[in-house]
């Protein structure tokens, strides 16, 4: 069964791609890699993957835009998406702007669900799994297996 599974990595970071491909190799799942959001969407449309590992900050098209377009498309909306980010915050500062986060962004549903604090546009998305950097390969491997088997 596992041989037929196809995982798509959409990430521009060299080390992240190496890390994720190594994890997938170790699990024995075939994978494809797209280095930006635009290429990611093309790859998804060319062949439907069984799982998308999606980075947030990328050139051309960011992860949030890819997420939204996939969820809008009835063909693609069922594909599970893992969001990979270092942008989640525990210190009350928005990583993208350097501005302090308003107090009401703490302790909300999103935080309880994913165990990380995010704000603004990140709260508008609901990925199946939120993977925070630095990646814990055992945890990620377990989650990938849980989705694919």
């Amino acid at each position: 069964m596992t041989d037929e599974r196809d995982v798509l990595i959409v990430d521009d970071s060299e080390e992240c791609v190496i890390y994720l491909t190594e994890i997938l190799e170790d699990l024995g799942y075939p994978f494809r890699v797209a280095r930006n959001g635009k290429a990611g969407l093309e790859a998804v449309r060319t062949k439907k993957p069984d799982l998308v590992l999606l980075d947030l900050m990328m050139p051309q098209k960011g992860g949030i835009a890819v997420y939204r377009e996939m969820k809008k498309d009835p063909e693609l909306e069922k594909i599970p998406i893992f969001i990979i980010t270092g942008a989640s915050e525990a210190t009350g500062v928005d990583m993208l702007t350097g501005e302090p986060l308003p107090a009401e962004d703490y302790g909300d549903e999103f935080t309880r669900r994913f165990g990380v604090r995010v704000h603004g546009q990140l709260k508008a998305i609901e990925p199946d799994v939120f993977i925070e950097k630095p990646i814990d390969h055992e945890d990620v491997a377990r989650r990938i297996r849980a989705v694919l088997e």
Binding site: D12, S13, E14, E15, C16, I18, Y19, E22, I23, E25, D26, R35, N36, M57, M58, P59, Q60, G86, A87, E89, A90, T91, G92, V93, M95, L96, T97, G98, P100, E132, K133, P134, I135, D136, H137
Partner: protein, 418 residues
């Protein structure tokens, strides 16, 4: 002041009590309390003593009249009395009464007017002083506490002013502290974000190395080592950037030929650009002329910008050319770093100089552009950027020549270049 002293002496005489006796209860005296007030250690008695002058004068005058009224009035035939002791006649009595009445009235009037005058002056001065202090509070100058205000109503206003000033300075302190915490928070958040990314690379390397050892795959071994090396280099870079960012220093200005710095930068990065098939082009103006610059700092800034330009070329756009140029102006030199790479969106441009925000795929420290800007600022120069997504980016640095600040360094660099 002279008038005050004079009246004070009078009063002392009239009341018949010693000043030192009155000073003891002066501190608790109220506006209408009627005790003479004397400041501790002060030479002059306060204006409040004047409040006693009028009633005392009235009392003395009335007493005198009563005494006069009780004098026997003549002529009376009394045996045994000498002519000097003869009681006053009615005529004499009337003259004394009218005379003392006129005199007493005049003294009372003069006293009343003096008291009013002094009181007015005191109120004016006190009010003016308080106004000046209120203005000082508004201007944010350090507040001197109000000390000597009388009467009580003015004192109350002065105290209220003191409390306001205190509150304001306390709020200022609190604001500074919370601003400091925000900055510290941003630094910590940014730093932990960058460190998380570096740690991610180290974990990746570790995992790949681990698997390489398990599978005996030599290619993987190299891959794992490469990832680890990159992460270690990023930590070194981060420490260097952080130290540069926090260091507050004057540039070591020396006469520098900007074209020479550009040539050094091209030499430094030729290999990196070549490995991506990117041309590093020298577009310097041969007549640019020297400027007083910190050679090492400007070299560093240009290396950073050019490295960014090369990376932008690897990520998109036409991506085959990075050009470094110079333009000589009368009072300034212009340095240009131009690429036809991926370009920047408005969002990236907005956070170009924000600490710890990096969009680099290879993982920046998020301090590179911040340090570049700091170097240019320290030189009294400006940096602007034009960028279009998919078309490329141009950085334009303007630096004042400031040759009057230069130490003689041009010769030395020319020699070392040769």
């Amino acid at each position: 002041m002279l008038a005050e002293r004079t009246i004070t002496r009078h009063t002392t005489h009239f009341t018949g009590r010693s000043l030192s006796q009155r000073t003891s209860d002066a501190s608790s005296s109220a506006f209408n309390g009627g005790t003479v007030f004397m400041a501790t250690g002060a030479r002059t008695v306060r204006w409040r003593i004047l409040i006693w002058v009028l009633p005392l004068q009235v009392l003395v005058f009335a007493g005198f009249q009563i005494w006069l009224a009780n004098q026997p009035v003549g002529p009376v035939e009394t045996a045994g009395l000498s002519p000097a002791e003869t009681p006053l006649t009615h005529e004499q009595m009337r003259t004394i009464r009218v005379g003392s009445g006129v005199l007493g009235g005049a003294v009372l009037l003069v006293t009343f007017l003096t008291v009013r005058l002094l009181l007015d002056r005191h109120l004016r001065r006190t009010t003016r002083r308080m106004l000046a202090r209120a203005a000082a509070i508004r201007a944010g100058q350090p507040h001197r506490k109000n000390r000597r205000h009388r009467p009580r109503e003015l004192k109350a206003i002065a105290d209220e002013l003191d409390r306001s000033a205190q509150r304001i300075s306390q709020q200022k302190r609190e604001l500074r502290e919370s601003e400091r915490l925000v900055v510290v928070g941003q630094m910590v958040a940014g730093l932990s974000h960058t460190l998380k990314n570096i740690l991610n690379g180290l974990r990746a390397g570790q995992f790949v190395l681990d698997r390489a050892l398990k599978t005996g795959n030599e290619d993987k071994l190299h891959k794992g080592l490469d990832v680890t090396r990159t992460s270690v280099a990023r930590i070194e870079r981060l420490i260097f950037d952080m130290l540069n960012y926090t260091k507050d220093r004057e540039p070591k200005r020396e006469a520098v030929d900007p074209n020479h710095v550009v040539a050094e930068v091209i030499e430094e990065l030729q290999q990196l650009a070549g490995s991506w098939d990117i041309e590093l082009r020298d577009e310097t103006d041969p007549d640019v002329g020297p400027a007083a610059l910190d050679h090492n700092e400007i070299f560093r800034a240009l290396v950073d910008l050019t490295t960014n330009a090369i990376e932008a070329c690897t990520e998109g756009g036409k991506g085959d050319l990075v050009a470094l140029g110079t333009i000589g102006g009368e009072d300034e030199v212009v340095l240009l770093v131009e690429d036809n790479g991926i370009g920047m969106t408005d969002d990236v441009l907005d956070h170009l100089y924000t600490r710890f925000v990096s969009t680099k795929a290879t993982g920046g420290t998020g301090l590179g552009m911040v340090v570049v800007k700091k170097i240019i600022d320290e030189h009294g120069g400006t940096i602007d950027v034009e960028s279009a997504p998919g078309e490329g980016t141009t950085f334009r640095i303007r630096l004042p020549r400031a040759m009057e600040n230069a130490t003689d360094g041009l010769q030395e660099h020319k020699e070392s270049a040769g």
